[in-house]
Amino acid sequence: MHEKPLGLLAELTHRCPLGCPYCSNPLALDPREDELDTATWLRVLREAAELGVLQVHLSGGEPGARRDLIDITAGAHAAGLYTNLITSAVGITESVLTGLVQAGLDHVQISIQDGDAQSADRIAGYAGAFARKRALAAAVVGHKLPLTVNAVVHRANIDRIGDIVDLALALAANRVEIAHVQYYGWALRNRAALMPSREQVERAASAVAELRARHQGRIVIDAVVPDYYARYPKPCVGGWGRRSLNVTPAGKVLPCHAAESIIGLEFWNVRERSLAEIWANSPAFSAFRGTGWMREPCASCPRRELDFGGCRCQAFALTGDASATDPVCHLAPDHARVARGDPDRSWV
């Protein structure tokens, strides 16, 4: 009997007006004509709730590119799910937001690319995006919905975490996420331009600790630590096929949003099967669930059920073998691939 998933990431579309260099979309995008229709999404959301999912994250791409976003949100709410909108803000007008609030939306996460307009718009590749983010943030707070600001940090903005937190406070966010770039897909391709130095990462960690102490009780600061410089790998997605699942715009169900980067995995599609059947029996979910797939040094490691061998996508990206120990781990046979640490050197 498998554990039940807690969260579903619903990637409603890969379409997005922004062009961030670390985009989490796969390199090969699902075209609009392949996107699931409204009725299928509503069925998937009902099946998710029946399976035990508690929260749905409506994401993309930019979910505002879907004309049926309000209907999908209403369907998620009616199924009893906690609904979270993850948006760039471009494409969510104030009238759409009002419709979403009436449909039962629980929370909004808005991405920002930097603390000031000029740099933020340059990173996003979209003039005027920053101003629209500020406007949507104000509208969210005006509706008394909780707001999270998400800032992906990399070499070009990592030294301005204080400005980013100040901006989140000025926007009246309850929470700010400082998320270091994760190097898959587009970010891996653009890694040489994005990866901060070890010194930058260390300065960022002290900045976050200082900001947390200074703003305690005013704003929650969550930081996603960059695993490239860590001793142990991250427990990626809380363990493969254990806590969460991800549905792509075209209906493929993935254990994590980057799983399609692993060549050879067989994904099942919600067009053909129920979510419960996919969760229980899909070859992609079974491939790395639990600890049976592990080799040494993971198989006998006392941390095997703490970090689950780390990230399968990263293991594949860096070694070509998805069942290898995540090279980030200092015990991994391939750790030298990470430990070189020079962001300008190609080690993939």
Partner: protein, 96 residues
Amino acid sequence: MSDPAIPIDAAARPRLPRGVRLVHSEAQGGWVLLAPERIFKADAIAAEIIKRCTGEVTFGQLVDDLANSYTAPREKIRTDVATLLRGLADKKLLEL
């Protein structure tokens, strides 16, 4: 992070803010607190306390109520409840 030395006013009316709710999950086999992009499992005692955080009951009344329901010294209950509520407030999961 939370400082238990800061007392909670007996007249405070703790409540869950918008975007935070306590639900019972069959799949998870118990109570869970749903919050922005986070989920916290609540044990039976924590759930009993959080259920009373409606914005209508004062902290003092909440402690009295629990002291009547459970056989523990009122002062210990007050301290334990205050620690839990402070911790939740620090995470923006509760308004005091």
